[in-house]
């Protein structure tokens, strides 16, 4: 018996205005259903549409056509507030580890909890715990400017996990890291999966792909292969 679908992209296309006269077709009629508890790796060359698909699954963007359904709710027709509520059930590790500059690591990690009305003391405790999980307990008071690339990426993982999300989306989480840091981040994502969370990563990292239970390959905005393990 297969697990229920948590998030699905149904025949989605996404077109962007490019620098030239012709639009850029980032996704062309992609369908992907992600079951609860799955660890899905999206692979494919740069520009194949991995990040765009991840943004659609995470309610960060809207498709030009097709539908994205999260836990039965159609995100295309959802209001901004409803999409925000969905985003609160998702933890996202962004490519490049964007942060709020000059804000301490603990406050950066706790930022998702601010909007949810979590009391300051609890927020700090949860943020410190998340930082501890990613090995950054001693950097809690440091601003992002003082963190290395690997530390920033782990901070991004801590921020994604602090809200206890059902779905974790990670966009190239190990791309700019050395082997040791990449392994640490991969371990964190594996741990999140082991805790029962659904994980979808877009990656070129074979070591990370090896941990996935399903590998979906994209090329030129289309799914060209879908392998389950």
């Amino acid at each position: 018996m297969t697990a229920p679908v948590l998030v699905a992209a149904l025949d989605v296309s996404r077109r962007f205005r490019g620098t030239g006269p012709a639009p850029v077709e980032a996704l062309l009629g992609v369908t992907l259903e992600v079951e609860r508890g799955a660890f899905v790796a999206l692979v494919g060359p740069s520009g194949s549409g991995k990040s765009t698909l991840l943004a659609l699954l995470g309610a960060l963007d809207r498709p030009t056509s097709g539908r994205v359904v999260f836990d039965g709710a159609d995100l295309l027709r959802a209001s901004d507030a409803a999409r925000t509520r969905v985003r609160r059930r998702i933890g996202i590790v962004f490519q490049g580890g964007p942060t709020l500059r000059r804000v301490t690591a603990v406050d950066n990690v706790g930022m998702p909890l601010v909007a949810r009305g979590v009391p300051a003391a609890e927020r700090e405790a949860r943020a410190r715990a998340a930082l501890g999980r990613v090995g950054l307990a001693d950097r809690a008071g440091s601003p992002p400017e003082e963190l290395s690339g690997g530390e920033l990426q782990r901070l991004g993982v801590a921020r994604a996990l602090v809200g206890d999300p059902e779905l974790v989306l990670a966009d190239e989480p190990t791309s700019s890291l050395d082997r040791e840091n990449a392994a640490a981040v991969a371990d964190l994502l594996s741990a999140a999966h082991a805790e029962g969370r659904t994980v979808v990563v877009a990656t070129h990292d074979d070591a990370l792909v090896a941990r996935a239970t399903r590998v979906v390959e994209l090329a030129h905005g289309r799914v060209v292969a879908d392998r389950r393990r």
């Binding site: 963007d61 985003r87 609160r88 962004f94 949810r116």
Partner: protein, 397 residues
């Protein structure tokens, strides 16, 4: 509620975290707001001063016109006016300009009876001139300082006339509630003033006090007089009467006109200032866009993002308005409204040792604060709102 407070707190933190961005926005608002506040301060100070002068002055000021030009009044006119029904007092005043000191500094000699000096006027050194005494001068504090005149100093003859060369003596230095008087006025008796200007039996104007509610009637009666001049063969001198309300209207209109001119510049400055703030806050525009995208991506509602930006704007506006008011007080006080005061006053009144009247009232300050808030909001909140309304992926891209 707790969530809103926490979100608002992050807005406050954002001001401190983005010091350069905050400083640029505050500096832009202050640059536009400050000259306006200084102008308002000087304008209100002048109106206050005018009010003091008017309160201590006469109900009616009578001057003479001959062929439509100002002409002196015969001193006998004082008695004529004094006898009119409703008049409680009338006295002559002689006013004329002279040049004093090596540099020919312009000053105004005012000759009045000793017992008609303004009540707020006091001698800070020496004494006021004595009734009946001649060639005794009482000099304004700023003017005395500028010309290095002390009590007991002799002032060379203003000019020689048919009565011979007369030397006057400074018997006192005065201060007044209307500080501009201190900067260019020399007070003396009517007789001395007439001697200074080589005149006899005339006055520049007659000042009149009336009984309660008699002002219109007395005004009509004076205007009905055929002539107030002596029969010197040059034709009659027709009376011209200015009431206290007329004078107040003229003074107020003059100040308001200048305030209006400054206000127009202020509006123009803000018209430029708003885009300026928009552009200059471009220092942090990309960063703000990324922040908004990130906050939306991690589960912030659009209204929470706007609340955060709104609190940041409010804090910046309060900082900008407070800084503007403080700097305006500094500009008006120790720096004496340099640059702006000259729009309202002539060079004599804005000389380094003259006191510049000023007052910052709450209403313009609050109004200026509101405008500051509007500018900062328009410069920040609009861009935040647009970004928050777009997809987070686009903002983060």
């Amino acid at each position: 509620m707790r969530s809103a407070l926490s979100v608002a707190r992050t807005g406050l933190d954002a001001v401190a975290h983005h010091r350069l961005r905050s400083a640029v926005v505050v500096a832009c608002v202050v640059a536009a707001l400050l000259p306006y506040l200084v102008a308002l301060g000087v304008g209100h100070g002048l109106l206050d001063q005018a009010e003091v002068s008017l309160a201590e002055g006469a109900d009616l000021t009578v001057t003479g016109l001959r062929f439509g030009r100002p002409a002196p009044l015969d001193l006998a006119a004082v008695e004529t006016v004094r006898r009119l029904p409703g008049v409680t007092d009338a006295w002559p005043r002689v006013v004329g300009e002279v040049q004093l000191g090596r540099d020919g500094w312009p000053a105004v000699v005012v000759g009045v009876p000793a017992d008609r000096l303004p009540a707020s006027l006091e001698a800070v050194e020496g004494r006021l001139f004595a009734p009946g005494a001649t060639h005794e001068l009482v000099v304004g504090r700023a003017l005395a300082s500028r010309l290095a005149l002390r009590v007991g100093a002799f002032v060379p003859p203003f000019y020689e006339n048919e009565h011979g060369v007369k030397v006057s003596r400074v018997v006192g230095i005065f201060r007044a509630d209307a500080p501009l008087l201190e900067s260019n006025v020399v007070l003396t008796s009517v007789e001395t003033a007439l001697a200074v200007f080589a005149q006899q039996g005339v006055a520049t104007e007659v000042l009149v006090r009336c009984g309660p509610d008699y002002v219109p009637e007395v005004r009509r009666a004076i205007l009905a007089l055929r002539t107030l001049g002596g029969d010197d063969g040059h034709g009659p001198v027709r009376p011209r009467v200015v009431t206290r309300d007329d004078a107040r209207a003229v003074l107020t209109a003059s100040v308001l006109h200048r305030e209006g001119v400054v206000g127009l510049h202020f509006l123009l400055a803000f018209a430029v200032g708003i885009p300026l703030v928009l552009v200059t806050s471009g220092i942090g525009l990309a960063e703000r866009r990324r922040e908004v995208g990130l906050l939306k991506a991690v589960g912030w509602h659009t209204d929470q993002v706007l609340l955060r930006a709104g609190v940041e704007c409010l804090v910046l506006a309060v900082l900008a308005a407070s800084a503007s008011v403080l700097l305006a007080a500094l500009w008006l006080g120790p720096l004496r409204g340099t640059g702006v005061a000259a729009l309202f006053l002539d060079a004599t009144d804005t000389a380094p040792d003259a006191r510049i009247p000023w007052r910052l009232t709450p209403v313009p300050v609050l109004l200026a604060s509101a405008v500051a808030l509007a500018v900062v909001l328009s410069g920040t909140l609009v861009s935040t709102w647009r970004t928050a309304g777009a997809s987070p992926a686009e903002a983060l891209r």
